[in-house]
Symmetry: C2
Subunit: 154 residues, 2 copies
């Protein structure tokens, strides 16, 4: 179990791209997607699968992650709520932190979101210019919401 | 992943008790408890914990089980829906099968339910006299229902 503090931003240019040191293909869906709790299955690079339980809501959440067999993940997909989310996650070093830049595909093409994990909500970090509007508090940009409702309008 | 076919009966006497070869203490709760899917956390003998996803409904369901750290299970308890179920499961050999007799405690004291797992719905088995009314099709006797709604009335 871990607790994560994440701040989330829309990404408005591609200046991060040459800075990325690693990327992974994520294919993920929800078995449960409620406001205060969710259960997600993520397949990474078509090879590994992980089950994640998130509890609580807002910027400070509980998270429990378990590796599961890839075949389980494929079988569970039939029970998904919402749509499958496909995205590429790029890892961009930023001082002592790593910014994760998620480039969405499929029905969410055009959306690029960056997340930075901090040790507490007030922790300072160097803000690179590719970070646009902060959407940390906007529930429409939760992956759960994107899965259930698609791209935010406006 | 496995698929299980289970038939469930109320237990009306204690003739099974001397036949039991093993018993475990189960303390369990649900993180999600919907009609067609659930996510359960079970602590066995206060030592081991397991997360179980069930999909589908009725007599034929999909089941996915993962061992998780005991500390995770304890932390997740704060996010339970419904009440904690505490029961002792006794394993009673019955020909080629094993009958699991669940003796409920706490707010469900008085309820004793027996389950037998079969390879298909039509498989025959010797029916010992301690098996009372069959409740396989009665959703009130699902552990999920017992957690959310308590003892069936009437």
């Amino acid at each position: 179990m871990g607790r994560e503090i994440e701040r989330k931003f829309l990404v408005t240019d591609e200046s991060w791209l040459p800075l990325a040191t690693r990327s992974n293909a994520f294919s993920q869906f929800y078995l449960f997607a409620e406001a205060d709790r969710s259960c997600r299955v993520r397949i990474v690079d078509r090879q590994f699968a992980r089950l994640t339980l998130k509890t609580g809501d807002g910027i400070d959440r509980g998270e429990f992650e378990y590796d599961i067999p890839l075949d389980d993940a494929k079988a569970l997909r039939a029970s998904a709520v919402g749509r499958l989310i496909e995205k590429t996650r790029h890892f961009v070093p930023n001082g002592p932190h790593t910014i994760e830049v998620d480039v969405f595909h499929g029905g969410l093409t055009g959306l690029i979101v960056a997340e930075i994990e901090l040790s507490d909500e007030a922790e300072a970090f160097t803000r690179p210019r590719f970070l646009g509007k902060e959407v940390s508090g906007d529930p429409r940009y939760l992956n759960r919401s994107l899965s259930l409702h698609g791209l935010p309008s406006g």
